[in-house]
């Protein structure tokens, strides 16, 4: 491998290892705690629930945003080219979202196996005699398998990583005015979309015929968003 690429990967890996490890130690700790607590309520109606997917989405968003200021200026300072940074960052974000998806769902499956119970869901909807437990977004497509969960978490995780990376880049390059201006513009577009109903129609279109392929499309959308970030990175300067 080209030495500079290797150096960039080494830097990104070293820089990301710490937040990744801390995140999983804390999240894993809370998961074990939840299991411990659930034994305290055996026989009662109280159920202790936990979920690993939503925390990894939030982690992805935060990490994507912070990636810009924690990695890019230092890589430029060492002499890495913008194209190299773009390649290394993109690959790292993909690997990170896959890793998060794999760890979250493997840990979840393992804990269910060890405890001998199937987790009952993070919330339950009761309508008359019917009850519906929601554990994971994969419940929406009624195919709650380990593979589907990994794909869903990876695609949502990557989409958020890429989106917040782009947002972080806008903030880094154009400051608060550019960053908050972009957020304001997105919010205005959303309000406009709801008022004109095309946003509602779009969401209806997605969720009426909700299918697993949506998550592949979401992953591809993440890639497109990431590709757009190159336009901002190409001539990026640092102080």
């Amino acid at each position: 491998m080209d030495a500079q690429l290797k150096g960039s990967f080494y830097y990104v890996l070293t820089n990301t290892k710490r937040p990744f490890t801390i995140f999983w130690i804390i999240l894993g700790g809370f998961m074990f705690l939840s299991y411990g607590m659930s034994y305290l309520f055996v026989g009662s109606e109280t159920v202790v629930s936990y979920d690993l997917s939503f925390p990894i989405y939030i982690f992805g968003a935060v990490l994507g945003f912070n990636f810009v200021k924690n990695c890019i200026p230092y890589l430029i300072r060492i002499g890495s080219s913008r194209t190299n940074i773009f390649l290394v960052t993109g690959l790292s974000l993909i690997v990170l979202s896959i890793l998060n998806g794999l760890v979250a769902n493997t840990l979840y499956g393992l804990m269910n196996k060890i405890s001998g119970e199937v987790f009952q869901g993070i919330f339950t909807i009761q309508t008359g005699n019917e009850s519906y437990s929601f554990t994971h977004i994969s419940d929406l497509i009624m195919e709650n398998t380990w593979f589907n969960r990994v794909v869903i978490d990876t695609s949502i995780g990557f989409f958020l990583l890429a989106s917040f990376f782009l947002l972080g880049l806008i903030f880094y390059r154009y400051g608060y005015i550019g960053g908050f201006g972009t957020l304001g513009l997105l919010l205005t577009l959303m309000v406009f979309g709801i008022a004109k109903e095309w946003l509602i129609d779009f969401l209806k279109y997605i969720f009426t015929d909700f299918h697993f392929t949506f998550f592949y499309q979401l992953f591809l959308t993440g890639i497109v968003i990431y590709l757009i970030s190159y336009l901002l990175m190409r001539r990026l300067t640092i102080d």
Binding site: A3, Y10, N15, I76, I78, G79, N84, R234, T237, I238
Partner: protein, 290 residues
């Protein structure tokens, strides 16, 4: 590697930080890039290292623009006075990263310097004292062995002994493997003997580029009675005059011919003082050896 600066300008809104600066650096030497605060030194070094883009004009390194140019940037190392490294990384990670980026990285030298400066390699950068962080910068700059090594006030917080060690090591390395070293500092008196060539910037313009030896020979002061001094400085390039009662001192740039026939007291002008006189507002600059 040669550096050609061609009408380089950098503007931040209305402020002209660099204004059509042009010069050339051809030989591997130790260059002193001097000037007062806000003269444009750091901006120039950032453009040279590919951190910044000029507003107009260009810097060429071996006829190539350094910005986003991998083959050039792996031979340029810029160490600034602070914020060189991610503060969350450990010292050993910083050294490892730089070793992967710089093809001529001297691992043995880096290890020696780590021991000399007693740097704790397991410590995070944020845990280092100001002096130790500077020492890390100095180690990286020296061990990079980059053809163009730029030090911009690299030793904030380093004590006198540590700075002396740095100068000695810099010279030793330079003798072993000559390269272009651009040095910008406000502690000019300490390092002026290292300089082989001096460039002085003032208000974004290059006002002087000259061999240090030539500056040492041609910058001098004469002190005597007002009448004697005034008579001597006729048709000479006077940078500054000072007067106390009937005694006068004139700081002159040029040949010392004729001074031995007078009773004037002659002294050399240190490069630091020369920079101060030359960059004072209102000093005529047309005669300068640029």
């Amino acid at each position: 590697m040669n550096i050609r600066v061609d009408k380089l300008s950098k503007h931040y809104r209305q402020k002209k930080v660099l204004n059509e600066v042009s010069f050339q650096i051809d030989e591997p030497k130790i260059y002193g890039l001097l000037g007062r605060n806000g003269a444009g030194k750091t901006t120039f070094m950032e453009i040279l290292a590919g951190h910044q883009l000029p507003t107009s004009g260009e810097v060429y390194v071996n006829s190539e623009i350094p910005f986003d140019n991998r083959s050039i940037l792996e031979h340029i190392c810029l160490i600034k006075e602070g914020n060189n490294f991610n503060r969350e990384l450990k010292v050993k990670h910083v050294l490892k990263t730089y070793s992967l980026f710089y093809p001529n990285w001297d691992e043995a030298l880096a290890n020696t310097l780590v021991q000399e400066y007693k740097l704790p390699i397991q410590a995070k950068v944020k845990a280092l004292s100001k002096g130790m962080e500077s020492a890390l910068g100095v180690i990286v700059g020296l061990a990079s062995n980059a053809f163009i090594t730029i030090f911009d006030e690299p030793y904030i917080g380093l004590d006198a002994a540590a700075r002396k060690k740095f100068y000695d090591m810099l010279l030793e390395q330079y003798e072993e493997r000559p390269r272009t070293i651009i040095f910008s500092t406000h502690l000019i008196d300490e390092v002026s003997l290292l300089f082989e060539e001096v460039l002085i910037l003032q208000n974004g313009e290059l006002i002087l580029q000259e061999k240090a030896e030539m500056l040492r020979e041609n910058a001098y002061s004469v002190t005597g009675t007002k009448e004697e001094v005034e008579a001597f400085i006729q048709n000479k390039h006077v940078m500054k005059t000072k007067q106390l009662a009937n005694m006068m001192t004139a700081y002159i740039f040029g040949s010392q011919v004729g001074v031995e026939q007078t009773d004037l007291n002659v002294e050399g002008v240190p490069i630091q003082d020369l920079m101060i006189y030359l960059t004072e507002e209102g000093v005529e600059k047309e005669w300068m050896p640029n």
